[in-house]
Symmetry: C2
Subunit: 343 residues, 2 copies
Amino acid sequence: MLRFSFHSPNPNHPSAKTLDPSPVFRSVKTFAPATVANLGPGFDFLGCAVDGLGDVITLSVDPGVAPGKIVISSISGAPKLSHNPLRNCAGIAAIEIMRKLGVRSVGLSLSLEKGLPLGSGLGSSAASAAAAAVAVDALFGSTLTAHDLVLAGLESEAKVSGYHADNIGPAILGGFVLIRSYEPFEILPLNFPADRDLVFVLVSPDFEAPTKKMREALPAEVGMKEHIRNSSQAAALVAAVLQGDARVLGSALSSDVIVEPKRAPLIPGMAAVKVAAMEAGAFGCTISGAGPTVVAVIDGEQQGKEIGDRMVEAFLVNGGLRAKATVSKLDRVGARVISSSNQ
Amino acid sequence: MLRFSFHSPNPNHPSAKTLDPSPVFRSVKTFAPATVANLGPGFDFLGCAVDGLGDVITLSVDPGVAPGKIVISSISGAPKLSHNPLRNCAGIAAIEIMRKLGVRSVGLSLSLEKGLPLGSGLGSSAASAAAAAVAVDALFGSTLTAHDLVLAGLESEAKVSGYHADNIGPAILGGFVLIRSYEPFEILPLNFPADRDLVFVLVSPDFEAPTKKMREALPAEVGMKEHIRNSSQAAALVAAVLQGDARVLGSALSSDVIVEPKRAPLIPGMAAVKVAAMEAGAFGCTISGAGPTVVAVIDGEQQGKEIGDRMVEAFLVNGGLRAKATVSKLDRVGARVISSSNQ
């Protein structure tokens, strides 16, 4: 089992005090996928990456930028995002990696193409942070461990959306990731068998989820009975991932009795959307992250469109919300370099 | 993934209304292993079977017993147990299976050799029920499913020690078992890889655990933070079982922040016993079932004796209790026939 522990750093880890690496490329382009956190009873400790949707970053050595510094030269797809790297999730993650590598002699410029809408429950900030962390590392020869990359992304998440790793973990590593503990920081990648398919129907309504209300809706205490029910379903969910059983995975994900019942009423039409997904053949359905995107699970793409159409219809009829459906497979790779150049 | 669902009975299931099977043997002898329930954060939904310790049942066709009836002819190792089959966990499970099979024409006599002490936290009642259920089924040709056997055992547990399947599940099936839900009744066998070793050090003190106090010590409500911590560790425990990682398994089992902190103080010396186990090299340590047995986990038998000695010493020094240590491997088989005869 792969494990990352905060207290066991890679002995080959470059030290910021001694290294000032030279870039290996003049420019790299990276992609990081959308992620679905929580997964029902996996609230705050489980997440997975989904393909197709994500953010793209182009990072270049830029003689016009002061050595050791980074600027954000352009952002497309999200006009509201700050160009100040200290206030931008991609910028924060990039700076964190530059610091780890000890980059002092070259300046960098970063261009961000947001493929993910902000605040949709699809790990938008984590995708930007993951793509940025991998880009900086790749530009200097890919010397860091996955653990380093996740920790840099976690710093970014902490400043932008809260200290939680259930989006940044899978955004970097791909597949399913279990956040086991924060002190020490330990995450377990969970391998869904390569010969099985897992398909997600992601339906995002035109609705700004009330983040504060979503957080306040969480109960401070849970009944012992509900604790046991959710724990056993979370355990079943992990077993289903490792055993490649999409049906059990879906029904476990669908069985949260603690968080979903509190949050679903804050998303207009959500209850009906879940019913529609299940009636159309989904194995399970819940809120993606803190919403408002709703995620349904199935084991093949052929049913995905029909399920998505029904969910979109239910959002319109029952919640008065327009929505968009995407059918995605499990992304098993996570953040990656898609091209590099020395031109 | 093997699943047993209450609502999907085997279509080949013999119906009590039509069948009155003939015995295939005159006598069978069965064994069922001890079980460790709860496993820390798996409270009330995880359990596993351990080898070496267990109960033995000899079941015979007896012309002296009224057709369709069963008598308990002898019990060794537990003078307090009732010989009335309706008040004995082996008797109740046997009757349940006789009813399922529709046994009407032959009478049976059952002899029980208790290898497990009562009230020790090692699934004593479940072992008797499991051995009895398998014995009756075997005597009539082993036609029932594991699901039938577990349900019969669960009936027995419900009458004797509470409606919980985290002992009877692994006592019947062997290995690790996750009780996913009771309505519908669904359990997931979790396969610890065959090529890996898993060893349990079981230390039972001379102490009658105050069952009522143990139950009352459970909090009615759990903080959200503790819920998430325990759930993620239970999820890690399941991942460790399926991935065969004894070290993660041990540390997850050792990390319960909800039940163990409340119950441990009711077992004199328990805290020191846990420290002693960890200092001697155990990967993890917690209460077995509702105690008073304490279980430590390791990946080889060689260290088991030393760890057991230290734990026994800690019970004596810190709790004033004499204790006995047993080193057992994971039992992967569960309840089984050890001999059969037509003599």
